[in-house]
Symmetry: C2
Subunit: 253 residues, 2 copies
């Protein structure tokens, strides 16, 4: 049977149409000013042309904003499940999205054993990279190309607001923007490594969420963790994937 | 004898020319891109026309940036001393400056017993009010007049970055800017009250630093602390005053 999982995040809305363990369709859009609209758009797009109404599971911040879902599940459960589908031996998930970050510890069978969540401080989330990139007139998508092979300039402030001022000072002092950007990514990767270290975790570690697409971040994170950091082309869909999987299991009962 | 105390803060440089317990001259300017320049300016302005070179004590972030001071002292010691000169029975000092905040506990004799310092997170410092005021097109100096008697609109985010987005959303949703500003001040005052509560403190409490000039903040802080909050016209000079006092004592030995 076909099921749909939608992850209504504060920055991006992600959706998956799933059949068994296979992704049939993906949906991704920036979350609208009215997050419920993005959920509806995901739902309509994913189910288009599907004869029987698929079981719909919602997760993420906006999961309670619409009334047409069959089930609502917390992000932590969905992310763990989705991560295991992307890489079956995953024991630790680090998810860094636009406005939050989480670390999830799983046992051998993929059951949740512990987790940490930050959605209170913009530092350590994608927002940090957004703010600094904007300050330097760069697109987040270009971060990799710009910082490739560049020696990071040390950054003192971890607060997004203070880091923004520091970055402006560094520019005025003539430091090259690519060295500053590499420094910013490195500072955030170090912070994320500390975040992971607050849980007792095991490898393999799967990096999910929007920030996982940044290869230089991944490299620096691996350096600070002193361990391998895996990712997946569909890593941003981990939550939606987990939600769709819950629907598959539901159907089997 | 005349002594000078200069408090080189990250936002504002303050200076005092002191004779005994009496303030002879005040100096205040925004800290320049080169903080040492602001210290020199304070020094030249305050000693202008003074025959004998006054004993100079430096405090604040920039205190090690120039080599012409007779003494350098940490902010915590200076703020405690300065606060006691402004109000002799002070037992607790809460100082909120442009980029940091501190709570200082004093015993009956004014000796430091404990303190807390935050300079890592922009929320809870003057920067928070700056950022939000700028977002709403207001001057920090006008906050009092604008929010006088206005019912605060609740604010969810305490992170400066997330609060900025929330404020933009509230504006789009048609909430009046004065209600938002009152909500912002209230949220920060509540946070500051929690900060004070982390130390075991006693009254009387003196509120110093740039933010102490905001009467609505003071009122809301008193509400959240459920105790009186005193201030002083010279509250922003507490650190510089303490530094100048140290010079007076030095001279007596
Ligand atoms: S103001 Fe800075 S340190 Fe504080 S919560 Fe926000 S990003 Fe984090």
């Amino acid at each position: 049977a076909l099921t749909i999982g939608i992850d209504s995040g504060s920055t991006t809305t992600k959706g998956i149409l799933l059949e068994g363990d296979s992704i049939v369709r993906r949906f991704l859009c920036p979350t609208s000013f009215r997050p419920a609209d993005s959920i509806s758009e995901a739902w309509e797009t994913l189910r288009a042309g599907v004869a029987e109404k698929p079981f719909l599971t919602l997760t993420g911040y906006g999961r309670q904003l619409v009334d047409f879902a069959d089930k609502q599940v917390t992000e932590i459960s969905c992310h763990g499940l989705g991560a295991r589908l992307l890489r079956s031996d995953t024991r630790t998930v680090i998810d860094i999205g636009g406005q939050d970050s989480k670390v999830i510890a799983l046992d051998e069978n993929g059951n949740l054993t512990d987790f940490l969540m930050n959605d209170k401080c913009a530092a350590g989330t994608g927002r940090f990279l957004d703010v600094i990139s904007r300050t330097l007139g760069t697109q987040v998508e270009q971060l990799d190309a710009i910082t490739d092979g560049v020696e990071p300039h040390p950054l003192t402030s971890m607060c997004t607001v203070f880091a923004e001022s520091e970055v402006i000072s560094l520019r005025s002092a003539g430091i090259a923007p690519e060295a500053i950007l590499a420094g910013v990514i490195n500072a955030m990767a170090r912070r994320s490594a500390h975040f992971v270290a607050r849980l007792s975790t095991q490898g393999p570690l799967l990096f999910t969420g929007g920030v996982s697409h940044c290869a230089s971040f991944r490299r620096m994170l691996a350096g600070h963790l002193n361990s391998a950091v895996f990712t997946h082309d569909d890593a941003q869909y981990a939550g939606a994937l987990g939600a769709a999987l819950i629907g598959q299991r539901q159907g089997k009962r």
